[in-house]
Symmetry: C2
Subunit: 394 residues, 2 copies
């Protein structure tokens, strides 16, 4: 694993194989803070919600000390039993670490509609606690499902002379869209910051990163992003939007943006990442709608997979939004080279653009020329492997 | 070809290879009526429109004698040249058959953003005219793109003692949704009917058939459905909603419904057809929204392709619409057997339902239990072959 996993002061973590996954891979992780944390959390908007979301939502405003995360089982579509199973697990952990149940958040990812193996998990909690460490490498692994790589990003910054750390850990990798979908992300920091300000800065970071990626247009019942700040850096508490706040804002955005890039790059079966930028739309909303439609068009995604130039599918996807755009005005660029203008293809650029399609990062820019708003969405191609992964994963 | 292609009185058709497709397959077809027809037509709502749609829209209310259809080239995204190319072709045909240009409709399907081979097409018009026949078999072939099968449905009915015929010819097969997408359909009849009544009955038939299917959620720039009635059966003209009208309505619906079924079954790479019925929704719109979301979910489609039971993905797709549904109330049935109720899976039925997933027709029924509105959408699975077809087709 090439990612360096550096935890902020006062945080410990661990990851073990607790028998939730059948293949013996890591599947249970714990994050523990020595001090109480202020928390800000974001959950899926899907009407089907994992039990952990129902649980977490009630306590996110309390003092948080820990996050128990598992992969291999989404604990969604398990009816009332899903929630009561989770409560049993949390209760057991609570007793063993002597922390109130209302201070422990949970996060699950994995297969939907499978009962949680409660006894197995509870039996493994002592092992999970024993492994807690300041330099643990296993938590980022323990939350993975079909991900191929762990996803960790760290930023260091100075707040009033105190060295502070922010570390983000995430997992993808299918069902990514349009509101974070099967992804978990935990962003931990030792910065001392007020709850209100954390909520504000976290919201902005999420909106401009995790909410701007899509792999397959599906939204999962489990999407969860949790920000925890334990104040262990002992900086003077950040309460207002001063220079320090701006530093935090920049660092958090960097972390969330890099994590979301890692999620897209590691999307199921992905061979290419395509950044879709809609420029000069009438409204931000119009730009986003068109970007998402292109990003989720199977015909566009399969064309990129086949490295075949098909600007017609891109323009057609834009037109299918029924937004009032003028086909004769728009300019489509692929990797900075124009390929459509005046409502037709620019033949002289075809060869150059086709050559560029072999790259694994593609920049697509559609200039609508009807306004001044822009939006960018990152997406992926659609490969045989996506189907293989998802036809078999049940 | 097993489909019997029976034309109504007064209609002729033909189909030839005019060199639009590189592989020598049929690619140019003509329908000609000996008498003037009243016409009703439906076109894509995509903002990118094929040149033929811009052309047809201006003349659909005139007396129509002919439809010139081609495959292999969509004549979309060709700028102003697309329309002027089409006009040249129509003009040449008009001169040769001595019918006014405003009486000839056009319809194109195939690759987007390729210039029409005008000269080649014009050169082949005499051959196309020579082949015109009352018992032609080639028109249904000449409009196909990636379709594997021709699609023809005929109904006979008696109007005031006169034998009448309605014949529908269509092509699919990718980009099918949500408003008819890359499909062409021509419904011809010798019934004498007023323009207004034809418009009314055609609209109803389209709404409940072609507009309720989806293969990949993409909407094409070329979708076109044309109804022509030439009155050659010499029945007393149908002007009001009497018993004869009801007979026509039933026959037209049958034809459109069967053609749309054929399109779905022959969708790109399809191994299974899945009928998704949402029952007892609060509104018709809610039922349709949820049905379409499930129908277009890649995770649902790949699960069906893999014949793997994954009710979680179905419920999750429903939940991702953000419609206010109660997960604990809904009942999900697959091939008439309940698999989810009370917000959880019914374990005792798993084996039976899994066995049923091997069938090539799947009935999925989601009862929301919050209202009294229903909607059904037909969709397909998503296979390796879909990707192969669309990664290569450029």
């Amino acid at each position: 694993m090439k990612d360096f996993y550096k935890l902020p002061s006062g945080f410990l973590s661990s990851g073990i194989s607790a028998g939730i996954k059948k293949n013996g891979k890591l599947d249970l992780g714990l994050i523990l803070s020595e001090k109480p944390c202020v928390c800000s959390a974001f959950f899926t908007k899907n009407k089907l919600k994992s039990a952990h979301i129902l649980y977490d939502k009630k306590i996110v405003n309390k003092e948080i000390y820990a996050i128990l995360a598992n992969s291999g089982n989404a604990n969604a579509l398990n009816g009332k039993k899903g929630l009561s199973d989770l409560k049993k697990i949390i209760k057991s952990l609570s007793e063993k670490i002597k922390i109130h149940e209302n201070s422990i958040l949970a996060a699950s990812t994995g297969k939907i509609a499978k009962k949680m193996p409660v006894d197995t998990i509870i039996k493994n909690i002592p092992e999970l606690l024993k492994k807690l460490s300041k330099r643990d490498m296993n938590f980022p692994r323990a939350i993975l499902t079909t991900d191929l790589k762990t996803k960790v990003v760290t930023e260091e910054l100075i707040m009033n002379g105190k060295k502070c750390i922010i570390t983000g850990v995430a997992k993808g990798s299918g069902m990514i869209s349009p509101n974070m979908a099967t992804m978990l992300a935990f962003i931990l920091t030792d910065i001392k910051i007020s709850r209100n300000l954390l909520a504000k800065v976290a919201k902005e970071a999420v909106e401009n990163s995790f909410n701007k990626i899509t792999v397959d247009g599906d939204m999962s019942p489990n999407d969860t992003i949790i920000f925890l700040a334990n104040g262990a850096a002992e900086n003077k508490i950040i309460k207002k939007e001063d220079n320090n706040y701006l530093k935090i804002k920049k660092a958090l955005f960097n972390i969330c943006f890099k994590l979301s890039e890692k999620i897209v790059e590691d999307g199921e079966g992905v061979t290419k990442v395509i950044k879709i930028c809609i420029k000069n739309a009438k409204t931000k909303n119009q730009a986003e709608k068109i970007a998402r439609r292109i990003a989720n068009s199977l015909l566009v995604k399969t064309a990129f997979f086949g490295e075949s130039l098909n600007p017609g599918r891109i323009i057609s996807a834009a037109g299918a939004t029924l937004e009032s755009i003028d086909i004769n005005k728009i300019v489509l660029k692929i990797n900075n080279r124009s390929i459509v203008s005046n409502g037709q293809i620019i033949s002289s650029n075809i060869r150059e653009v086709e050559k560029n399609l072999k790259k694994d990062k593609i920049n697509l820019e559609l200039d609508l020329k009807i306004g001044r708003f822009s939006e960018t969405i990152s997406t992926t191609d659609l490969s045989y492997n996506y189907i293989k992964i998802n036809a078999d994963y049940s």
